[in-house]
Subunit: 142 residues, 2 copies
DNA sequence: CCTAGTGAGTTTGGTTTTCGAACGCAAGGT
DNA sequence: ACCTTGCGTTCGAAAACCAAACTCACTAGG
């Protein structure tokens, strides 16, 4: 998890990724929609590309122009973003800003996806899970 | 989501919360396990308490000693942490560090929880969902 | 031809944050 | 009397951040 955070553990990075999921692809648009300072944005995009989360693709020569798209690795961050969105809507909403809503193409309903157990299909909360392995013993060793 | 990130959009904050889910409660232990610099840790704990994610509780007077526990709001961040954990294991693992594994108390199996649709129960990926509402039009307005 | 505009950055210079190391303080142990 | 534990705070140096201006390579309009 620390390694995951070394990639996405940054305010601007996550805002950039949110926009990427909304199909923003160009530097100017990322800049306008996230409000990130341009040098910071340039640096973040570069490191996301280095980390394989975004792909930098030329969409024009003369003049050279590039766009940034999510890779498979990037798309797989969706649960992180959705979980944050959900938590923000639940705990941090203020009334004069309507939340983003998500529609499930499969069933057509407006929903907030939640965690479930792939083993038994039940919904999962923190209390239903326990850590095992190296950290479990660490935490217990107190 | 931006508001959510204003609370947890920080490398150290998320590491602190990870430890909190492992039942770390004391300043020294947070410091040792996250490696966060002490002044940063003090400031982060304070702001997490301000934001209602952690609760600061006195567990001894003479000398005064405090511990930090997750509130309900904090516990509800579990999906964010689990999603990060899962992504890190999938995309950032290196072989000489065993991943943390999670057991579902309900069915006893070792699993990585995933997102599902509360409407129809199907598993959900980024491609199955579409945004509607204010941002959808914004993204389309290009 | 001259000027304006667009897209994708880079440079600059000044302000915040962050960091590691050391310190403070109140007790408890030996 | 001295060392240790727990929980922080203070300090100066180093790094990151920011807004604004600049660059470069074109395209479009008059």
């Amino acid at each position: 998890m620390a390694r995951a955070l070394s990639v996405v553990g940054d305010r601007w990075t996550l805002l950039v990724l949110r926009e990427a999921f909304f199909r923003t692809r160009r530097f100017e648009d990322f800049q306008a929609r996230t409000g990130a300072p341009r040098p910071v944005l340039a640096e973040r995009l570069r490191s996301l590309v280095d980390d394989g989360v975004l792909e930098r693709r030329q969409y024009s020569d003369r003049p050279d122009r590039f766009e940034y798209r999510l890779t498979e690795k990037g798309v797989d961050l969706y649960p992180v973003l959705v979980s944050l969105l959900r938590w923000g809507d639940r705990w941090m909403s203020d009334d004069d800003e309507l939340p983003i809503t998500l529609r499930h193409r499969g069933c057509g309903q407006i929903v907030q996806p939640e965690l479930a157990c792939p083993g038994c299909g039940e919904w999962v909360t923190a209390r239903d899970m326990e850590a095992v392995g190296p950290r479990a013993t660490l935490a217990g060793a107190r």
